[in-house]
C-alpha cells in the first residue's frame, strides 16, 4: 500500500477516482452506460469525448515539456487547422463528398506539420527560448486563421467531415478512437524506439547529453512537430464537432488546459522524466472537473476558483516537500526518523 502510494501516478489517479466518486454520490446514474441505436452513451463517454482534443494536445505537450520546452502555439494551430480544412471544403465544388473531406483532413495535418517545423526551427536551430518562439505563433496564428476564413465563421455541411468529431464507430465516438490511436502511436514511437530516453536525457542534462553525442536539435524538432500535428488533429475534431471553423474561439486557452494536464499528470515543467499515461489521467481530471461543476450545481462564478483549488491540491500532493510533511504527519515520529536515516545510508 505504501509503495503504491509512492508511485508517481498514485495521486493523480486517486484525485480522478475521488472526483468520479463525488459525481456518483450526487448523481447515482453517473457511472451508468447505455446502448442506444448501437451507440454507447453515458457521462463517462461524454467526458472522454469532450476531453479528446485536450488529451491529444496534452500528449504532444508532454514530450515538448520533457525537453525543457513549452508550446504555447497549440491553440493557434487548432484554429489554423480548422480554418484551413473548413475553408477548403466550403470552397470546393463538391462540398459534401468524402474525397473533399479526406483532402481537407490532409491539408490540416500538413499545415500542422509545417507549423511544427517552424516552431522546431526557431527553438532548435535559432535557439530562441521556447516560450518566446511559440508565443510568436500563438499570436500570429490566430491572425493567419482569420485571414483564411476571411474573418467569418465558415460553416460546412459534409457528413464524412462531421463524423471526425461527432461520429461513431464500433459503438464508440470516433474522436475517442482517434485519441486512443494517437496515444498508442506516441507510446510506441517513444518507448519502442530510443526517442523517449533521448528526450528525457536532453531534458535532464542538455550539456551531458551533448557530450555523449546526442543531436539534441533533431530531437527537439521532432517533439515540436509532433505537438503541432496533435494540435492540428484536435483542430479537426473541434471544427468537425460544430461543423464550422471559428478562427477566434476554436481552441482558445487550450494550451493552458494542456499544460495543466501535463503537470497534474506528474511531468515536471523542469523537463526530464515524463509520463504519457499521467498526462491522460491529468486531462481526464480537468474534464471531469468541468462536469463535476455542473453536477454539483456550483454557480458559474465559482467554477474557475473551484477548478483552481483542485489543481493546486493535486500539484501540492505531488511536491516532495508536501509529501514529506504528510508522511511525517501520518507516521509516528520515531519510525519516520529511522526510515530517513536508512535512506541516507542507502545513498
Amino acid at each position: 500500500m505504501k509503495s503504491l502510494l509512492k508511485h508517481r501516478l498514485a495521486w493523480p489517479v486517486i484525485a480522478l477516482a475521488a472526483l468520479l466518486l463525488l459525481n456518483q454520490v450526487f448523481r447515482p446514474d453517473f457511472m451508468s452506460l447505455r446502448m442506444q441505436d448501437g451507440h454507447l452513451y453515458g457521462s463517462l463517454i461524454d467526458i472522454m469525448r469532450n476531453g479528446a482534443p485536450t488529451i491529444l494536445i496534452a500528449l504532444g505537450m508532454t514530450l515538448v515539456i520533457a525537453t525543457r520546452g513549452i508550446d504555447l502555439s497549440v491553440g493557434a494551430v487548432v484554429a489554423i487547422a480548422g480554418a484551413a480544412s473548413c475553408a477548403y471544403i466550403a470552397a470546393s465544388p463538391e462540398p459534401g463528398s468524402p474525397v473533399t473531406a479526406a483532402t481537407a483532413v490532409l491539408i490540416a495535418v500538413v499545415a500542422g506539420l509545417a507549423l511544427g517545423v517552424w516552431n522546431g526551427f526557431l527553438v532548435s536551430t535559432i535557439g530562441v527560448q521556447p516560450i518566446i518562439a511559440t508565443l510568436v505563433l500563438m499570436t500570429a496564428g490566430r491572425g493567419v486563421a482569420q485571414l483564411i476564413t476571411g474573418g467569418q465563421i465558415v460553416s460546412v455541411s459534409n457528413d464524412s467531415y462531421k463524423s471526425i468529431g461527432a461520429g461513431y464507430l464500433f459503438t464508440l465516438p470516433i474522436s475517442i478512437l482517434i485519441t486512443a490511436a494517437v496515444f498508442a502511436l506516441a507510446a510506441v514511437l517513444t518507448r519502442r524506439t530510443a526517442l523517449g530516453t533521448l528526450i528525457e536525457a536532453v531534458g535532464i542534462n542538455p550539456v551531458a547529453s551533448r557530450l555523449a553525442g546526442l543531436r539534441a536539435r533533431n530531437i527537439i524538432w521532432i517533439v515540436y512537430v509532433f505537438s503541432a500535428v496533435c494540435a492540428a488533429i484536435a483542430g479537426l475534431m473541434i471544427s468537425s464537432n460544430v461543423t464550422a471553423a471559428d478562427a477566434n474561439n476554436a481552441g482558445l486557452y487550450i494550451e493552458m488546459d494542456a499544460i495543466l494536464a501535463v503537470v497534474i499528470g506528474g511531468t515536471s515543467l523542469a523537463g526530464g522524466r515524463y509520463t504519457l499515461v499521467g498526462t491522460v489521467v491529468g486531462a481526464f481530471i480537468i474534464q471531469t472537473l468541468t462536469t463535476t461543476v455542473y453536477t454539483l450545481g456550483i454557480p458559474p462564478e465559482v467554477t474557475l476558483v473551484f477548478k483552481a483549488l483542485v489543481v493546486i491540491t493535486v500539484c501540492l500532493l505531488q511536491a516532495p516537500k508536501a509529501r514529506n510533511l504528510l508522511s511525517r504527519f501520518k507516521a509516528a515520529p520515531k519510525p519516520a526518523a529511522k526510515e530517513a536515516a536508512k535512506e541516507k545510508v542507502a545513498i
Binding site: 528525457e200 536525457a201 542534462n205 551531458a208 557530450l211 553525442g213 526530464g272
Partner: protein, 508 residues
C-alpha cells in the same frame, strides 16, 4: 613594515558549507600600495576568501578589519561602502549602457534633481585620462568594447569610487598578451598611487611579473605569506600542491612502463599541430599513438581540460590542425568526435556526465544509443548483456541496472561513465580527472583499467592533478602551463620533481 597598519586584515577566518570547511583559520593581510597575489589550486579557498572580503559570504568566525576598523560584511554593498571594489573575470557591468553610465552608475552627479550629463561626461573623461585610457569614447556602448577594455572600464569605475582596495579575480584569463600588458600598466599605476591590490590568477608568470607579495592557500587552510622575490616558482608550486621537495624525492618511483613505443613508420591516432582557441589555449602540438597513454601535467587551470575539449570538439578550435590516422580532420562537435571513435570522460561528472534521473542502464548505453540515432533502439536483450558485462567487469555497485545513477557513490558513477565510453569501443579515450573524489579502491581499479586498455591498443589521454598518478600510468607526459603546452617528457624514470621543475621553469 610591521608598524604600518594593513588596509585589510583578516584573522582566523572560517567559513563552512554543509559537509565542507571552505576556509579554516585563514589569516590574510593586504597593505597599501602593494599587489598581493592569492595563490592556490582550484578549491583551495581563494574565491571563498574573496567572497568573505566582499560580503558575498558571511564568515562563521574570525575578524575582518579595514583601515583598523573592525567590520562585519553581510552584503556586497557594505563591503563596497568600506572602499573595497572587485573586478571579476566575467565583467559585472551593464553591457547595454554606455561607458560613462557604467563608470558612474548610481553615483551620477546631479543638478536640481536630474542627472547632470555634462558632469557625467567630464568626470568620466577625467578618470579615463588618469588611467591613460583617453582613447575610449565615454559615450560608446559598453558592449562594443572587448572584454579587456570592459575590465579596464570596471577598474576605472573603482578608481572613480576612490576605492582603497581593488580585487582582481582572474582578470587576465581571456586576454591576449598586449591586453595583459595594458592591464598591468594600469595596475602598477594604481599601486604607485597607494591602492592595495589583490590579484588572483592561474598564470604563474603573470603572478611573478606583477605581484609584490603572495599568500598561499591549500584545502581551505593558510600555507603562508611570502614576498614574491623570496619564493621560487618551485617552492611556490610545492606549497600549492602540498608536497615538500624532500618528501617528493623520497617517494618510490613507479616502475617505468614499457609498452608500444612510437617507432618510426607508426602513424599516431591523433596528431594536433598548433591547435588553439582564442581565450582558451594556444600552440598545442601533441600526438598520441595507438596503445599509448599520454598524461597531461600542469596546475589546475593551466589549460588541461581546455585541450581535452578541443580534441573532443566540445569547443571548436580556431587555429591549428588535427590529423586522425594521418588524415586531416575538423572536429566540429562531440558527435563528430564520437563518429571518429573518440570518447571523453569530463572532469565535471555531475554537470557534464551524469543524466541523474535516468537509470544506470540508460546512462551506460547513452553514447552508443546516441550514435545509432533514436530510431534504432539497442534491443533490451543487448542492453542487458552490455550492462551486466560492465557491471561485473568494473565492479559497479549496487549491481542493479535499474538504480537511478544519481543514487550511486561518486566512484561508481565514474565507473558507469567510463563504461559509457568503453561500450562504444573508442580508439582514443580522453579521461579528465577520472579519479577525482573517489575512494582509493576505485582509484586503483581505474588506473589498472587504463593500463589494460592501452595494452589492448587504445590511445589514452590521461589528465590528473596528481602528478604521481600521471607518472604511474603515462608513457609520455605533456606539460601544460599558462594555457600552452611547454614541454613533452618521455616517462622513463622521470620523477615528480623533474616534472615540477618543468612546470616551474617554463619552456625547455
Amino acid at each position: 613594515m610591521n608598524e604600518i597598519v594593513p588596509v585589510v586584515e583578516m584573522t582566523d577566518i572560517a567559513i563552512g558549507f554543509p559537509g565542507v570547511k571552505a576556509l579554516d583559520g585563514v589569516d590574510f593581510r593586504l597593505f597599501q600600495g602593494e599587489v598581493h597575489a592569492l595563490m592556490g589550486e582550484n578549491g583551495a579557498g581563494k574565491s571563498t576568501l574573496i567572497k568573505a572580503l566582499t560580503g558575498v559570504y558571511t564568515i562563521d568566525s574570525g575578524t575582518i578589519t579595514v583601515l583598523g576598523e573592525p567590520k562585519r560584511f553581510s552584503t556586497p554593498g557594505e563591503s563596497q561602502a568600506a572602499g573595497i571594489s572587485t573586478v571579476y573575470q566575467e565583467v559585472n557591468l551593464c553591457p547595454n549602457l554606455t561607458v560613462e553610465e557604467n563608470v558612474l552608475l548610481g553615483r551620477e552627479p546631479r543638478r536640481r534633481g536630474s542627472i547632470d550629463w555634462k558632469g557625467v561626461r567630464s568626470r568620466t573623461r577625467a578618470v579615463l585620462a588618469e588611467l591613460q585610457l583617453d582613447h575610449i569614447d565615454p559615450g560608446s556602448l559598453l558592449s562594443t568594447h572587448s572584454i579587456a577594455i570592459q575590465q579596464l572600464i570596471a577598474i576605472a569605475r573603482s578608481v572613480e569610487i576612490n576605492a582603497k582596495v581593488l580585487i582582481l579575480d582572474e582578470p587576465t584569463s581571456s586576454l591576449d598578451a598586449d591586453e595583459v600588458n595594458q592591464l598591468f600598466r594600469v595596475i602598477r599605476d594604481l599601486r604607485d598611487r597607494g591602492v592595495a591590490i589583490l590579484f588572483v590568477s592561474h598564470f604563474l608568470e603573470q603572478v611573478y611579473e606583477i605581484s609584490d607579495r603572495m599568500t598561499v592557500l591549500r584545502n581551505g587552510k593558510l600555507v603562508g605569506e611570502y614576498l614574491t622575490r623570496d619564493l621560487s616558482r618551485m617552492s611556490l608550486i610545492s606549497k600549492m600542491i602540498g608536497k615538500d621537495m624532500e618528501a617528493l624525492a623520497e617517494l618510490d618511483q613507479a616502475p617505468a612502463r614499457t609498452r608500444a613505443s612510437n617507432g618510426a613508420g607508426v602513424t599516431p591516432f591523433i596528431e594536433a599541430q598548433g591547435l588553439g582557441r582564442k581565450g582558451s589555449v594556444s600552440d598545442v602540438d601533441l600526438s598520441i599513438y595507438p596503445g599509448e597513454v599520454v598524461g597531461l601535467a600542469g596546475l589546475l587551470g593551466a589549460g588541461r581540460t581546455e585541450i581535452a575539449r578541443l580534441f573532443f570538439g566540445a569547443d571548436k578550435a580556431d587555429e591549428g590542425t588535427i590529423k586522425l590516422k594521418g588524415a586531416s580532420q575538423k572536429i566540429r562537435s562531440p558527435r563528430t568526435a564520437i563518429d571518429k571513435r573518440i570518447g571523453f570522460c569530463s572532469e565535471d561528472r555531475k554537470e557534464e556526465g551524469l543524466i541523474g534521473d535516468l537509470t544506470v542502464r540508460d546512462n551506460l548505453v547513452l553514447a552508443m544509443q546516441a550514435s545509432k540515432g533514436w530510431a534504432r533502439r539497442i534491443p533490451r536483450r543487448v542492453q542487458d548483456q552490455l550492462v551486466a558485462e560492465y557491471i561485473e567487469a568494473l565492479d559497479i555497485r549496487p549491481a542493479n541496472p535499474d538504480a537511478l545513477i544519481r543514487n550511486l557513490s561518486g566512484g561508481n558513477q565514474q565507473k558507469v561513465l567510463l563504461a559509457r565510453w568503453l561500450v562504444t569501443h573508442p580508439e582514443l579515450l580522453i579521461l579528465d580527472e577520472p579519479t577525482r573524489g573517489i575512494d582509493i579502491g576505485a582509484k586503483t581499479q581505474i588506473q589498472k583499467l587504463v593500463n589494460q586498455l592501452a595494452a589492448d591498443g587504445m590511445s589514452i589521454l590521461f589528465i590528473s592533478s596528481e602528478l604521481e598518478e600521471v607518472l604511474r600510468v603515462s608513457d609520455r607526459i605533456a606539460v601544460i602551463k599558462d594555457r600552452a603546452m611547454v614541454a613533452e617528457i618521455n616517462n622513463d624514470g622521470v620523477s615528480v620533481e623533474d616534472v615540477m621543475t618543468v612546470i616551474a621553469g617554463g619552456a625547455q
